[in-house]
Protein backbone atom coordinates (compact mmCIF):
# COMPACT_ATOMS: atom_id res chain seq x y z
CA UNK A 1 0.00 0.00 0.00
CA UNK A 2 1.03 3.57 -0.52
CA UNK A 3 1.87 5.10 2.85
CA UNK A 4 2.93 8.60 1.78
CA UNK A 5 2.33 10.72 -1.28
CA UNK A 6 4.21 13.92 -2.01
CA UNK A 7 3.63 16.21 -4.96
CA UNK A 8 5.79 19.14 -6.01
CA UNK A 9 4.92 21.61 -8.73
CA UNK A 10 2.18 19.32 -9.99
CA UNK A 11 -0.79 21.03 -11.67
CA UNK A 12 -1.93 23.70 -9.17
CA UNK A 13 -0.06 22.18 -6.24
CA UNK A 14 3.21 23.77 -5.22
CA UNK A 15 4.13 21.24 -2.55
CA UNK A 16 1.82 18.94 -0.64
CA UNK A 17 2.55 15.82 1.34
CA UNK A 18 0.05 13.27 2.60
CA UNK A 19 1.36 10.93 5.28
CA UNK A 20 0.03 7.89 7.08
CA UNK A 21 -2.32 6.91 4.27
CA UNK A 22 -4.90 4.20 4.80
CA UNK A 23 -6.78 1.50 2.94
CA UNK A 24 -9.53 3.97 1.99
CA UNK A 25 -8.43 7.54 1.37
CA UNK A 26 -11.11 10.15 0.87
CA UNK A 27 -9.79 13.33 -0.71
CA UNK A 28 -11.75 16.40 0.36
CA UNK A 29 -11.39 20.17 0.10
CA UNK A 30 -12.92 23.25 -1.46
CA UNK A 31 -13.41 23.94 -5.14
CA UNK A 32 -10.27 24.16 -7.22
CA UNK A 33 -7.92 23.03 -4.47
CA UNK A 34 -6.47 20.13 -6.46
CA UNK A 35 -8.41 17.06 -5.36
CA UNK A 36 -8.56 15.68 -8.89
CA UNK A 37 -4.89 16.50 -9.40
CA UNK A 38 -4.05 13.93 -6.73
CA UNK A 39 -5.87 11.27 -8.77
CA UNK A 40 -4.05 12.43 -11.91
CA UNK A 41 -0.68 12.18 -10.16
CA UNK A 42 -1.45 8.61 -9.13
CA UNK A 43 -2.43 7.82 -12.70
CA UNK A 44 0.90 9.18 -13.96
CA UNK A 45 2.63 6.92 -11.43
CA UNK A 46 0.65 3.74 -11.86
CA UNK A 47 -1.52 4.07 -14.98
CA UNK A 48 -1.10 1.83 -18.00
CA UNK A 49 -0.66 2.99 -21.58
CA UNK A 50 -4.39 3.48 -22.21
CA UNK A 51 -5.03 5.14 -18.86
CA UNK A 52 -2.24 7.61 -19.54
CA UNK A 53 -3.44 8.26 -23.06
CA UNK A 54 -6.92 9.04 -21.77
CA UNK A 55 -5.75 10.95 -18.72
CA UNK A 56 -6.40 14.47 -20.09
CA UNK A 57 -10.10 13.62 -20.35
CA UNK A 58 -10.53 11.01 -17.63
CA UNK A 59 -11.34 13.29 -14.72
CA UNK A 60 -12.18 16.52 -16.52
CA UNK A 61 -14.88 17.25 -19.03
CA UNK A 62 -13.11 18.79 -22.01
CA UNK A 63 -14.33 19.79 -25.44
CA UNK A 64 -12.82 17.34 -27.92
CA UNK A 65 -10.51 19.76 -29.61
CA UNK A 66 -9.63 21.74 -26.51
CA UNK A 67 -5.96 22.37 -25.89
CA UNK A 68 -6.31 20.77 -22.46
CA UNK A 69 -7.73 17.59 -23.95
CA UNK A 70 -4.40 16.70 -25.52
CA UNK A 71 -0.85 17.98 -25.52
CA UNK A 72 -1.87 21.05 -23.53
CA UNK A 73 -2.70 18.85 -20.56
CA UNK A 74 0.82 17.45 -20.52
CA UNK A 75 2.37 20.86 -21.14
CA UNK A 76 0.54 22.26 -18.13
CA UNK A 77 1.28 19.34 -15.84
CA UNK A 78 4.10 21.22 -14.16
CA UNK A 79 2.89 24.15 -12.04
CA UNK A 80 5.74 26.45 -12.89
CA UNK A 81 7.24 26.90 -16.31
CA UNK A 82 10.12 24.56 -15.69
CA UNK A 83 8.83 20.98 -15.76
CA UNK A 84 12.09 19.81 -14.23
CA UNK A 85 10.75 20.89 -10.83
CA UNK A 86 7.85 18.48 -11.05
CA UNK A 87 8.04 15.58 -8.63
CA UNK A 88 5.71 12.83 -7.47
CA UNK A 89 7.07 10.79 -4.60
CA UNK A 90 5.45 7.82 -2.91
CA UNK A 91 6.39 5.25 -0.36
CA UNK A 92 4.85 1.97 -1.36
CA UNK A 93 5.60 -1.70 -1.46
CA UNK A 94 5.04 -2.07 -5.19
CA UNK A 95 7.90 -0.59 -7.13
CA UNK A 96 11.66 -0.66 -6.96
CA UNK A 97 12.09 3.07 -6.73
CA UNK A 98 9.88 5.46 -4.88
CA UNK A 99 10.40 8.78 -6.60
CA UNK A 100 9.19 9.86 -9.96
CA UNK A 101 10.51 13.05 -11.47
CA UNK A 102 9.98 14.86 -14.70
CA UNK A 103 12.83 15.26 -17.12
CA UNK A 104 12.17 17.52 -20.04
CA UNK A 105 13.94 17.85 -23.31
CA UNK A 106 12.39 20.01 -25.99
CA UNK A 107 9.06 18.47 -26.82
CA UNK A 108 9.50 15.37 -24.71
CA UNK A 109 8.29 15.09 -21.16
CA UNK A 110 9.93 12.13 -19.56
CA UNK A 111 9.20 10.74 -16.12
CA UNK A 112 11.90 8.71 -14.52
CA UNK A 113 11.65 6.58 -11.45
CA UNK A 114 14.63 6.51 -9.15
CA UNK A 115 15.44 5.02 -5.84
CA UNK A 116 16.15 7.62 -3.22
CA UNK A 117 19.33 7.82 -1.22
CA UNK A 118 21.06 4.87 -2.75
CA UNK A 119 24.62 5.23 -3.89
CA UNK A 120 24.24 3.17 -7.02
CA UNK A 121 20.75 4.29 -7.87
CA UNK A 122 19.83 3.88 -11.46
CA UNK A 123 17.11 6.05 -12.85
CA UNK A 124 14.95 4.58 -15.54
CA UNK A 125 12.20 6.16 -17.58
CA UNK A 126 8.72 4.98 -16.79
CA UNK A 127 6.63 7.33 -18.87
CA UNK A 128 7.69 9.23 -21.94
CA UNK A 129 5.27 11.78 -23.34
CA UNK A 130 6.02 13.15 -26.80
CA UNK A 131 4.31 16.51 -26.96
CA UNK A 132 3.07 18.26 -30.08
CA UNK A 133 2.90 19.56 -32.62
CA UNK A 134 -0.47 21.16 -31.92
CA UNK A 135 -2.72 19.11 -29.73
CA UNK A 136 -1.13 15.74 -30.49
CA UNK A 137 0.82 13.73 -28.00
CA UNK A 138 2.21 10.23 -27.75
CA UNK A 139 2.67 8.04 -24.70
CA UNK A 140 5.28 5.38 -24.15
CA UNK A 141 4.70 3.59 -20.86
CA UNK A 142 7.22 1.14 -19.52
CA UNK A 143 5.10 -1.66 -18.15
CA UNK A 144 4.41 -1.23 -14.47
CA UNK A 145 3.74 -3.93 -11.94
CA UNK A 146 0.78 -2.26 -10.27
CA UNK A 147 -2.71 -2.52 -11.66
CA UNK A 148 -4.77 0.60 -11.41
CA UNK A 149 -8.51 0.94 -11.88
CA UNK A 150 -10.12 4.30 -12.50
CA UNK A 151 -13.71 5.35 -12.14
CA UNK A 152 -14.47 8.81 -13.39
CA UNK A 153 -17.38 10.99 -12.35
CA UNK A 154 -19.75 9.77 -15.01
CA UNK A 155 -21.16 6.30 -14.76
CA UNK A 156 -19.92 3.69 -17.13
CA UNK A 157 -21.95 2.25 -19.97
CA UNK A 158 -24.10 -0.59 -18.52
CA UNK A 159 -22.81 -2.91 -21.27
CA UNK A 160 -19.22 -2.38 -20.10
CA UNK A 161 -20.19 -3.03 -16.47
CA UNK A 162 -21.92 -6.22 -17.58
CA UNK A 163 -18.87 -7.35 -19.53
CA UNK A 164 -16.73 -6.82 -16.43
CA UNK A 165 -19.19 -8.82 -14.35
CA UNK A 166 -18.99 -11.63 -16.88
CA UNK A 167 -15.23 -11.87 -16.34
CA UNK A 168 -15.49 -12.29 -12.59
CA UNK A 169 -16.72 -15.88 -12.50
CA UNK A 170 -14.14 -16.90 -15.07
CA UNK A 171 -11.36 -15.54 -12.89
CA UNK A 172 -12.70 -16.97 -9.66
CA UNK A 173 -16.25 -18.35 -9.30
CA UNK A 174 -16.18 -17.67 -5.55
CA UNK A 175 -15.83 -13.98 -6.21
CA UNK A 176 -19.14 -13.86 -8.04
CA UNK A 177 -20.85 -15.23 -4.95
CA UNK A 178 -18.90 -12.84 -2.75
CA UNK A 179 -19.93 -9.88 -4.89
CA UNK A 180 -23.59 -10.93 -4.69
CA UNK A 181 -23.38 -11.28 -0.91
CA UNK A 182 -21.78 -7.84 -0.55
CA UNK A 183 -24.37 -6.19 -2.77
CA UNK A 184 -27.15 -7.93 -0.87
CA UNK A 185 -25.77 -6.73 2.45
CA UNK A 186 -24.86 -3.21 1.38
CA UNK A 187 -27.47 -2.15 -1.14
CA UNK A 188 -30.23 -4.57 -2.04
CA UNK A 189 -31.34 -7.05 0.64
CA UNK A 190 -33.77 -8.76 -1.76
CA UNK A 191 -30.97 -9.77 -4.10
CA UNK A 192 -30.66 -13.54 -4.57
CA UNK A 193 -28.30 -13.74 -7.51
CA UNK A 194 -26.96 -11.93 -10.53
CA UNK A 195 -26.78 -13.32 -14.04
CA UNK A 196 -25.10 -12.12 -17.21
CA UNK A 197 -27.81 -12.69 -19.79
CA UNK A 198 -29.49 -11.61 -22.95
CA UNK A 199 -33.14 -12.58 -22.73
CA UNK A 200 -34.85 -13.34 -26.03
CA UNK A 201 -35.74 -10.20 -27.92
CA UNK A 202 -33.27 -8.01 -26.04
CA UNK A 203 -29.94 -6.67 -26.98
CA UNK A 204 -27.20 -6.56 -25.69
CA UNK A 205 -26.06 -8.79 -22.81
CA UNK A 206 -26.61 -7.17 -19.42
CA UNK A 207 -26.40 -8.14 -15.77
CA UNK A 208 -29.82 -9.24 -14.54
CA UNK A 209 -30.80 -9.38 -10.88
CA UNK A 210 -32.99 -12.01 -9.26
CA UNK A 211 -34.94 -10.29 -6.48
CA UNK A 212 -37.11 -13.29 -5.76
CA UNK A 213 -39.83 -12.37 -8.20
CA UNK A 214 -39.85 -13.37 -11.82
CA UNK A 215 -38.82 -12.01 -14.17
CA UNK A 216 -35.24 -10.96 -13.35
CA UNK A 217 -34.57 -7.27 -13.81
CA UNK A 218 -31.71 -5.58 -15.65
CA UNK A 219 -29.45 -3.97 -13.04
CA UNK A 220 -30.04 -0.56 -14.57
CA UNK A 221 -33.58 -0.67 -13.17
CA UNK A 222 -32.41 -1.08 -9.58
CA UNK A 223 -31.40 2.52 -9.07
CA UNK A 224 -28.22 4.54 -9.37
CA UNK A 225 -26.77 3.39 -6.06
CA UNK A 226 -27.00 -0.23 -7.08
CA UNK A 227 -25.52 0.52 -10.51
CA UNK A 228 -22.65 2.56 -9.04
CA UNK A 229 -21.87 -0.05 -6.42
CA UNK A 230 -21.98 -2.88 -8.93
CA UNK A 231 -19.65 -0.90 -11.18
CA UNK A 232 -17.11 -0.40 -8.40
CA UNK A 233 -17.28 -4.01 -7.21
CA UNK A 234 -16.93 -5.30 -10.78
CA UNK A 235 -13.89 -3.10 -11.35
CA UNK A 236 -12.27 -4.54 -8.25
CA UNK A 237 -13.18 -8.20 -8.77
CA UNK A 238 -12.62 -8.28 -12.54
CA UNK A 239 -9.51 -6.10 -12.86
CA UNK A 240 -8.01 -7.06 -9.51
CA UNK A 241 -6.23 -3.73 -9.15
CA UNK A 242 -3.95 -2.77 -6.29
CA UNK A 243 -5.20 0.80 -6.42
CA UNK A 244 -8.60 2.15 -7.39
CA UNK A 245 -9.24 5.81 -8.12
CA UNK A 246 -12.79 7.16 -7.98
CA UNK A 247 -13.66 10.74 -8.75
CA UNK A 248 -16.73 12.13 -6.96
CA UNK A 249 -17.52 8.83 -5.32
CA UNK A 250 -20.89 10.03 -4.03
CA UNK A 251 -22.30 10.25 -7.55
CA UNK A 252 -25.46 8.23 -7.90
CA UNK A 253 -25.62 7.34 -4.22
CA UNK A 254 -28.56 8.36 -2.10
CA UNK A 255 -27.99 9.44 1.49
CA UNK A 256 -29.71 6.52 3.19
CA UNK A 257 -27.61 3.98 1.32
CA UNK A 258 -24.24 5.66 1.76
CA UNK A 259 -23.17 4.11 5.03
CA UNK A 260 -23.97 0.62 3.78
CA UNK A 261 -22.21 1.42 0.52
CA UNK A 262 -19.07 2.35 2.46
CA UNK A 263 -19.26 -0.72 4.66
CA UNK A 264 -19.47 -2.90 1.58
CA UNK A 265 -16.71 -1.02 -0.16
CA UNK A 266 -14.32 -1.15 2.80
CA UNK A 267 -14.99 -4.88 3.14
CA UNK A 268 -14.13 -5.44 -0.53
CA UNK A 269 -11.00 -3.29 -0.30
CA UNK A 270 -9.77 -5.29 2.67
CA UNK A 271 -10.77 -8.63 1.20
CA UNK A 272 -9.16 -7.97 -2.17
CA UNK A 273 -6.17 -6.00 -0.81
CA UNK A 274 -7.00 -2.86 -2.78
CA UNK A 275 -6.22 0.73 -1.79
CA UNK A 276 -8.80 3.39 -2.60
CA UNK A 277 -8.27 7.06 -3.42
CA UNK A 278 -11.56 8.87 -3.96
CA UNK A 279 -12.68 12.47 -4.10
CA UNK A 280 -15.91 13.88 -2.74
CA UNK A 281 -17.67 17.18 -2.12
CA UNK A 282 -20.45 15.63 -0.12
CA UNK A 283 -20.68 16.08 3.64
CA UNK A 284 -23.13 13.17 3.77
CA UNK A 285 -20.60 10.97 2.00
CA UNK A 286 -17.84 11.98 4.42
CA UNK A 287 -20.00 11.28 7.46
CA UNK A 288 -21.20 7.99 6.02
CA UNK A 289 -17.61 6.86 5.43
CA UNK A 290 -16.76 7.90 8.99
CA UNK A 291 -19.70 5.97 10.46
CA UNK A 292 -18.90 2.90 8.37
CA UNK A 293 -15.24 2.96 9.43
CA UNK A 294 -16.19 3.34 13.11
CA UNK A 295 -18.66 0.47 12.91
CA UNK A 296 -16.16 -1.80 11.20
CA UNK A 297 -13.32 -1.34 13.65
CA UNK A 298 -9.69 -1.26 12.63
CA UNK A 299 -8.30 1.87 11.06
CA UNK A 300 -9.13 1.70 7.36
CA UNK A 301 -10.08 5.30 6.64
CA UNK A 302 -8.09 8.47 6.08
CA UNK A 303 -9.29 11.89 5.07
CA UNK A 304 -6.90 13.80 2.82
CA UNK A 305 -7.89 17.43 2.77
CA UNK A 306 -6.54 20.23 0.60
CA UNK A 307 -6.96 23.82 1.77
CA UNK A 308 -6.03 27.18 0.36
CA UNK A 309 -4.06 29.40 2.78
CA UNK A 310 -5.75 32.71 3.54
CA UNK A 311 -2.41 34.52 3.80
CA UNK A 312 -1.29 33.15 0.42
CA UNK A 313 -4.28 32.03 -1.67
CA UNK A 314 -1.97 30.53 -4.28
CA UNK A 315 -0.66 28.04 -1.76
CA UNK A 316 -2.47 24.77 -1.11
CA UNK A 317 -1.73 22.79 2.05
CA UNK A 318 -2.45 19.15 2.77
CA UNK A 319 -3.82 17.64 5.98
CA UNK A 320 -4.26 13.93 6.64
CA UNK A 321 -6.46 12.79 9.50
CA UNK A 322 -8.43 9.78 10.63
CA UNK A 323 -11.78 8.80 12.01
CA UNK A 324 -11.13 10.10 15.55
CA UNK A 325 -10.62 13.68 14.41
CA UNK A 326 -13.65 13.43 12.14
CA UNK A 327 -15.76 11.95 14.93
CA UNK A 328 -14.84 14.84 17.27
CA UNK A 329 -15.67 17.32 14.51
CA UNK A 330 -19.07 15.72 13.95
CA UNK A 331 -19.81 15.77 17.69
CA UNK A 332 -19.00 19.48 17.84
CA UNK A 333 -20.76 20.14 14.53
CA UNK A 334 -17.53 21.46 13.06
CA UNK A 335 -17.12 21.51 9.30
CA UNK A 336 -14.18 19.41 8.09
CA UNK A 337 -14.69 19.44 4.34
Amino acid sequence: MISTLELKQFRGLEHVKFENLGRANLIIGGNNTGKTSVLEALTVLYGDQDQLKNLPKTFREQPKESEDSGAGFWRSLAKDEDPLNLLIRVNDGYVEGNTIEAVASNETLQFVRSKEETSNSSSRPVVIVQIGPGNDFGINRVLGKVRLSILATRQQDPRDVSELFNQIALLNPENETKLEELLCKAIEPRLRRLRYARPQGTNPHLVYADLGKAPMLPFTQLGQAFARTLEIYCKIFANQPKIILIDEIENGLYYEGMEDFWKGLMAVLEDQDVQLFATTHSRECIEAAQKAASAMGGDPLRFLRLDRRIDDPGKIVATTFGKEEMQTAIEFNREMR
Binding site: G30, I310, D311, V317, F321, E324, M326, T328, E335
Partner: protein, 210 residues
Protein backbone atom coordinates in the same frame (compact mmCIF):
# COMPACT_ATOMS: atom_id res chain seq x y z
CA UNK B 1 -11.10 39.72 -3.63
CA UNK B 2 -10.77 40.83 -0.04
CA UNK B 3 -8.15 38.81 1.78
CA UNK B 4 -9.33 37.24 5.02
CA UNK B 5 -7.29 38.13 8.10
CA UNK B 6 -6.12 35.52 10.63
CA UNK B 7 -7.84 35.85 14.00
CA UNK B 8 -6.70 34.84 17.50
CA UNK B 9 -8.59 31.98 19.09
CA UNK B 10 -9.35 31.31 22.75
CA UNK B 11 -10.22 27.71 23.61
CA UNK B 12 -12.38 27.39 26.71
CA UNK B 13 -13.19 24.34 28.79
CA UNK B 14 -16.95 24.75 28.75
CA UNK B 15 -19.86 26.99 27.96
CA UNK B 16 -19.55 28.94 31.24
CA UNK B 17 -15.83 29.56 30.70
CA UNK B 18 -16.51 30.80 27.19
CA UNK B 19 -19.26 33.20 28.30
CA UNK B 20 -17.20 34.68 31.12
CA UNK B 21 -13.93 34.96 29.19
CA UNK B 22 -15.69 36.49 26.21
CA UNK B 23 -17.42 39.00 28.49
CA UNK B 24 -14.08 39.81 30.10
CA UNK B 25 -12.51 40.34 26.68
CA UNK B 26 -15.37 42.65 25.72
CA UNK B 27 -14.86 44.66 28.92
CA UNK B 28 -11.18 44.88 28.03
CA UNK B 29 -12.07 46.51 24.72
CA UNK B 30 -11.42 43.43 22.62
CA UNK B 31 -14.90 43.01 21.21
CA UNK B 32 -14.86 41.05 17.91
CA UNK B 33 -11.09 40.83 18.01
CA UNK B 34 -10.94 37.27 19.32
CA UNK B 35 -12.64 34.01 18.40
CA UNK B 36 -13.91 31.68 21.14
CA UNK B 37 -14.59 27.95 21.07
CA UNK B 38 -15.40 25.54 23.87
CA UNK B 39 -14.18 21.94 23.92
CA UNK B 40 -16.81 20.39 26.13
CA UNK B 41 -14.90 19.61 29.32
CA UNK B 42 -11.35 18.70 30.27
CA UNK B 43 -11.77 15.07 29.26
CA UNK B 44 -12.39 16.16 25.68
CA UNK B 45 -9.38 18.45 25.40
CA UNK B 46 -6.95 16.01 23.76
CA UNK B 47 -9.44 14.88 21.12
CA UNK B 48 -10.50 18.46 20.48
CA UNK B 49 -6.96 19.71 19.95
CA UNK B 50 -6.28 16.91 17.46
CA UNK B 51 -9.46 17.82 15.62
CA UNK B 52 -8.56 21.52 15.71
CA UNK B 53 -5.17 20.80 14.22
CA UNK B 54 -6.83 18.82 11.42
CA UNK B 55 -9.52 21.47 10.83
CA UNK B 56 -9.75 23.51 7.62
CA UNK B 57 -9.51 26.76 9.61
CA UNK B 58 -6.16 25.69 11.08
CA UNK B 59 -4.83 24.49 7.71
CA UNK B 60 -5.92 27.68 5.96
CA UNK B 61 -4.05 29.74 8.54
CA UNK B 62 -7.17 31.40 9.97
CA UNK B 63 -5.78 31.34 13.53
CA UNK B 64 -2.97 33.78 14.25
CA UNK B 65 -2.64 32.69 17.90
CA UNK B 66 -4.30 30.02 20.00
CA UNK B 67 -4.77 30.29 23.75
CA UNK B 68 -5.79 27.01 25.38
CA UNK B 69 -7.39 27.36 28.81
CA UNK B 70 -8.75 24.97 31.39
CA UNK B 71 -9.81 25.07 35.02
CA UNK B 72 -7.37 24.16 37.80
CA UNK B 73 -10.11 22.44 39.81
CA UNK B 74 -8.61 20.99 43.00
CA UNK B 75 -4.98 20.66 41.89
CA UNK B 76 -3.21 23.35 39.88
CA UNK B 77 -0.08 21.32 39.11
CA UNK B 78 -1.98 18.28 37.95
CA UNK B 79 -4.23 20.36 35.72
CA UNK B 80 -1.28 22.27 34.28
CA UNK B 81 0.56 19.02 33.50
CA UNK B 82 -2.54 17.64 31.80
CA UNK B 83 -2.98 20.81 29.76
CA UNK B 84 0.69 20.93 28.76
CA UNK B 85 0.59 17.25 27.84
CA UNK B 86 -2.47 17.69 25.62
CA UNK B 87 -0.90 20.64 23.78
CA UNK B 88 2.36 18.75 23.33
CA UNK B 89 0.60 15.69 21.99
CA UNK B 90 -1.44 17.66 19.45
CA UNK B 91 1.07 20.31 18.37
CA UNK B 92 4.35 18.62 19.26
CA UNK B 93 5.63 21.57 21.28
CA UNK B 94 6.19 22.47 24.93
CA UNK B 95 4.27 25.49 26.20
CA UNK B 96 6.63 25.90 29.16
CA UNK B 97 4.96 28.33 31.56
CA UNK B 98 1.37 29.60 31.78
CA UNK B 99 0.71 32.58 29.53
CA UNK B 100 4.00 32.46 27.64
CA UNK B 101 3.61 32.49 23.86
CA UNK B 102 5.61 30.03 21.85
CA UNK B 103 5.89 29.69 18.09
CA UNK B 104 6.14 26.12 16.86
CA UNK B 105 7.34 25.67 13.28
CA UNK B 106 4.60 26.16 10.73
CA UNK B 107 1.92 26.68 13.37
CA UNK B 108 0.23 29.68 14.96
CA UNK B 109 1.59 31.01 18.25
CA UNK B 110 0.42 29.00 21.21
CA UNK B 111 -0.05 29.62 24.92
CA UNK B 112 -1.83 27.81 27.72
CA UNK B 113 -3.51 29.15 30.84
CA UNK B 114 -5.01 27.69 33.95
CA UNK B 115 -8.06 29.34 35.51
CA UNK B 116 -8.37 31.01 38.00
CA UNK B 117 -4.65 31.78 37.66
CA UNK B 118 -1.11 30.49 38.18
CA UNK B 119 -0.76 28.43 41.36
CA UNK B 120 -4.43 28.79 42.28
CA UNK B 121 -7.11 26.15 42.57
CA UNK B 122 -10.69 26.55 41.44
CA UNK B 123 -12.47 27.32 38.23
CA UNK B 124 -14.04 30.11 36.23
CA UNK B 125 -16.78 30.36 38.82
CA UNK B 126 -14.14 30.97 41.51
CA UNK B 127 -12.75 33.83 39.51
CA UNK B 128 -16.16 35.46 39.09
CA UNK B 129 -17.09 35.10 42.76
CA UNK B 130 -13.72 36.38 43.99
CA UNK B 131 -13.91 39.40 41.76
CA UNK B 132 -17.40 40.30 43.01
CA UNK B 133 -17.00 40.02 46.77
CA UNK B 134 -15.80 43.56 47.25
CA UNK B 135 -18.28 45.03 44.83
CA UNK B 136 -21.38 43.35 46.29
CA UNK B 137 -20.57 42.03 49.78
CA UNK B 138 -24.24 41.92 50.81
CA UNK B 139 -24.96 39.34 48.10
CA UNK B 140 -22.26 37.09 49.50
CA UNK B 141 -23.39 37.48 53.08
CA UNK B 142 -26.66 36.02 51.94
CA UNK B 143 -25.13 33.40 49.67
CA UNK B 144 -22.55 32.23 52.21
CA UNK B 145 -25.21 31.92 54.90
CA UNK B 146 -27.34 29.87 52.56
CA UNK B 147 -24.40 27.62 51.67
CA UNK B 148 -23.57 27.11 55.35
CA UNK B 149 -27.18 26.25 56.03
CA UNK B 150 -27.22 23.67 53.23
CA UNK B 151 -24.04 22.08 54.63
CA UNK B 152 -25.77 21.86 57.98
CA UNK B 153 -28.76 20.08 56.47
CA UNK B 154 -27.01 17.79 54.02
CA UNK B 155 -23.65 17.33 55.72
CA UNK B 156 -21.68 18.09 52.55
CA UNK B 157 -20.31 21.33 51.16
CA UNK B 158 -21.97 22.89 48.11
CA UNK B 159 -19.97 22.43 44.95
CA UNK B 160 -18.47 25.64 43.66
CA UNK B 161 -20.53 25.36 40.49
CA UNK B 162 -23.76 24.90 42.48
CA UNK B 163 -22.98 27.93 44.63
CA UNK B 164 -22.26 29.93 41.49
CA UNK B 165 -25.51 28.81 39.93
CA UNK B 166 -27.52 29.89 42.96
CA UNK B 167 -25.74 33.21 42.81
CA UNK B 168 -26.55 33.70 39.14
CA UNK B 169 -30.23 32.90 39.77
CA UNK B 170 -30.42 35.16 42.80
CA UNK B 171 -28.76 38.02 40.98
CA UNK B 172 -31.15 38.08 38.07
CA UNK B 173 -34.24 39.58 39.55
CA UNK B 174 -37.74 38.68 38.50
CA UNK B 175 -37.27 37.50 34.93
CA UNK B 176 -38.23 33.84 35.00
CA UNK B 177 -37.18 32.49 31.63
CA UNK B 178 -33.48 33.25 31.49
CA UNK B 179 -32.78 32.86 35.16
CA UNK B 180 -30.69 29.76 35.04
CA UNK B 181 -28.79 30.84 31.96
CA UNK B 182 -25.39 32.35 32.62
CA UNK B 183 -25.59 34.03 29.24
CA UNK B 184 -28.49 36.17 30.47
CA UNK B 185 -27.13 36.39 34.00
CA UNK B 186 -23.74 37.89 33.18
CA UNK B 187 -24.96 41.44 32.50
CA UNK B 188 -26.87 41.42 35.79
CA UNK B 189 -24.21 39.89 38.01
CA UNK B 190 -22.17 42.28 40.15
CA UNK B 191 -18.94 41.04 38.57
CA UNK B 192 -16.17 43.58 38.91
CA UNK B 193 -14.36 43.18 35.61
CA UNK B 194 -11.69 45.59 36.81
CA UNK B 195 -10.93 43.55 39.91
CA UNK B 196 -7.29 42.50 40.14
CA UNK B 197 -8.22 38.81 40.11
CA UNK B 198 -8.99 39.25 36.41
CA UNK B 199 -5.85 41.22 35.59
CA UNK B 200 -3.51 38.36 34.52
CA UNK B 201 -6.12 36.81 32.23
CA UNK B 202 -7.12 40.20 30.86
CA UNK B 203 -3.47 40.98 30.07
CA UNK B 204 -3.11 37.63 28.37
CA UNK B 205 -6.21 38.25 26.24
CA UNK B 206 -4.88 41.65 25.27
CA UNK B 207 -1.60 40.05 24.25
CA UNK B 208 -3.42 37.70 21.87
CA UNK B 209 -5.14 40.53 20.08
CA UNK B 210 -1.91 42.33 19.31
Amino acid sequence: MKQQQPKPLVLCEGKEDLLVIEALANHAGLENKLGFLQYGGKDRLRAYLHQLKASPEYARGEYSKILVTRDADLDFNRSWDALKGAVKEAFDCDVGEPGIWIKPGGAPELAAWIIPGPGKTGMIETLCVESSRTKAPEVFDCLDSFATCIVGIQGVALHEKARFEIWTIAAQGAGAKGRISLKYAIPNLPIDWNDETFTPLKKLLASIAT
